[in-house]
């Protein structure tokens, strides 16, 4: 079954137009990943309107390619500038930056890109085999099961996200509340609009993503002084080949990290803990564990493999359950809806060419990606040498364009600025942003799943415990929700 479908997918993914789209996406994505204030999520959000005129499959290939590019780009800034572009590249700076300072930037970059590629490949292989199976199971899900999965999604932010669980909870609730603003899809009543017509259409999460991640990040990096102390680096085919000769030695680290990445990654918010976990494990098991943090190549391999593997795994719940595993996947999910596709298990039945085109493009995209970034590292690194008096207004303008283009509305541009300020304050106070965005995306789905379940059960919450699959998932969710209570007790 799977092989024919994959072949069909490749026929779509390797048409010249789609390959061209992938190359453009990777290039843009890498630039976005390198630029401060722009990352995978809002890069994809800003470029989403561009895909409206494309066929959906090319659209998703563009967006996913931007995502791969951004993941690669994050490694460049982490290693050469000690600036993690995304939270999950923090662990890459531990050994990547020391390596670059010792003049081994080329080796570190090669190791990072190769590890990213291998981590991604591992996850894509698993997705190829498991996605159809998972979609098949999910076809039997009713509203109760879907609501239970949503609970599990958000419980993992609280139980596994780290930080203050109360603040994670508040972030989730804000997202859900913002999602209820506007027309109630079930009764048709206006909610939380307080008579303002501007609030009637509600808050679009794409605007929120651009503001929270884009403008918020810019404000934060301006406050931190935005001084880049980049290290010069040389990378040439010899360095690449020499590094490739060394890398197979770390096959254990590759396998372990890829597993950790995939396992953590298909749960929301998993990429960051995955990269740290994999770094910690590598340090524990390595013969050179004591050299970690001083420029050990294995310390670059471990977090990069896990982060990229997790980043790819986040696509799995998006295409099979319609529940995104990361903010970037959430934006892509928004794209799916705009293109007129119904995300979720039916996608495999109704739009096989789309799903398999996407899966096949993940292989081609990552192969193109690793080759492109290896070839053009100096070019990408040069972007960070652009003076920030030029970069800052440029990024603000790009964000404004993205925000306006979603609905051709000036009000959205104001919302974007407002979300930017909120994002800045929240980041400073350690309120996590990702759960807010996911809740805003999933709000309508979660609410209708909950209300439909309650209608079926005549208002009894027992429905989440009497249906076997729902009960297992709900139980797991409650366990994660309660996890911080246990650890708080242990500390006290």
């Amino acid at each position: 079954m799977g092989f024919d479908n994959l072949l069909l997918g490749f026929q779509i993914a390797i048409t010249p137009y789609n390959l061209f789209v992938a190359v453009i996406g990777i290039l843009l994505g890498t630039i976005i990943g390198v630029l401060p204030g722009l990352g995978g999520a809002n890069g994809v959000a800003i470029l989403l309107p561009v895909t409206f005129t494309m066929p959906p499959t090319s659209g998703i290939i563009l967006l996913t390619s931007i995502y791969w590019g951004a993941l690669f780009g994050g490694a460049i800034t982490s290693i050469l500038f000690n600036i993690p572009g995304e939270p999950w590249s923090v662990a890459t700076t531990f050994d990547g930056y020391p390596m670059a300072r010792q003049g081994e930037g080329g080796q570190a970059l090669t190791a990072a890109f190769t590890s990213s590629f291998i981590g991604a490949l591992f996850s894509i292989l698993l997705i190829t085999f498991f996605a159809p199976v998972l979609a098949e199971i999910a076809l039997k899900f009713g509203p109760a099961e879907f609501f239970a999965i949503q609970l599990l999604t958000f419980s993992s932010f609280i139980g596994l996200g780290g930080g203050n669980p109360l603040k994670s909870l508040v972030s989730i609730l804000i997202g859900f509340i913002l999602a209820t603003v506007g027309l109630d899809i079930i009764t048709g009543q206006l909610r939380l609009t307080f008579g303002f017509t501007g609030l009637m259409k509600g808050f679009d999460f794409i605007i929120a993503v651009i503001g929270l991640f884009g403008i918020g990040e810019i404000l934060l990096s301006v406050e931190e002084g935005l001084s880049f102390h980049g290290t010069k680096t040389r990378i040439n085919p010899r360095i690449v080949l020499d590094t490739w000769k060394v890398l197979p030695r770390y096959w254990r680290t590759f396998v372990r990290s890829a597993f950790i990445g995939f396992w953590m990654g298909f749960k929301p918010g998993g990429a960051t803990p995955a990269s740290f976990m994999s770094y910690a494990f590598a340090k524990q098991f390595s013969k050179n564990g004591d050299k970690f943090g001083k420029g050990e190549i294995e310390g670059v391999v471990a977090p990069e493999t896990a982060a990229h593997s997790a980043g790819v795994a986040a696509i799995l719940p998006m295409i099979t359950l319609g529940i995104p595993g990361s903010p970037t996947a959430a934006v892509m999910l928004g794209g799916l809806i705009i293109w007129g596709l119904q995300p979720g298990p039916l996608l495999f039945k109704e739009n096989p060419e789309f799903v398999w085109g996407l899966i096949a493009s993940m292989y081609t995209g990552n192969i193109i990606g690793v080759l492109l970034v290896l070839a053009f590292v100096p070019l990408f690194a040069a972007i960070l040498r652009i003076p920030f008096a030029i970069l800052t207004p440029l990024i603000v303008v790009v964000c404004a364009i993205g925000a306006y283009a979603v609905h051709n509305s000036m009000l959205d541009v104001w919302y974007m600025l407002l979300f930017g300020v909120i994002g800045y304050v929240f980041k400073k106070l350690d309120y996590p942003i990702a759960p807010l965005v996911l809740a805003l995306v999933l709000g309508d789905l979660a609410e209708s799943a909950l209300r439909q379940s309650l209608i079926i059960s005549q208002g009894s919450l027992a429905i989440f415990f009497t249906r076997p699959i729902a009960a297992v998932i709900t139980g797991l969710a409650i366990f994660f929700f309660a996890l911080p209570l246990f650890s708080a007790k242990r500390k006290a």
Binding site: I177, I390, V397
Partner: protein, 153 residues
Amino acid sequence: MRAADVVTASILILFGGLVLLDATRLGFGWGTDGPQSGFFPFWLALLMVLASVAIIFQEARRASPKSFVDREKLGPVLKVLWPAACAVLLMQWIGLYLSSALYMGFYMRWVGRHSWLAIVLLAIGIPLATFLVFEKWFLVPMPKGPLEAWLGY
């Protein structure tokens, strides 16, 4: 960070109160055919108010070592924010392209002290490039003003 945390949590409590008010207006109980419109927002807001109160208590027990933002660091942040807000305001009348040209030029001169040549080149070149990419290539319309109208767009 304590003061900022308490203020934020208090704002969230107020915000939650507003939501509770509207949810009560809509009804949060059981309607004729299922939960009423206010049902979901009501419980969300109630939980958020409780969590925010808990955060305030948590902060009250903790010593506060550093302030939210230093005075000298607030400057650069505001220096980004208010010109950006002005640029958005201008966009409504003169369109995105002209407004971003003025904004970029102003910011480059004011903060970056770049040479006039660089300013003119970039502040005109970048909006022009965006114009070509969005209006011509991708056919995504942006807000336009009198200048674009005069040029026939």
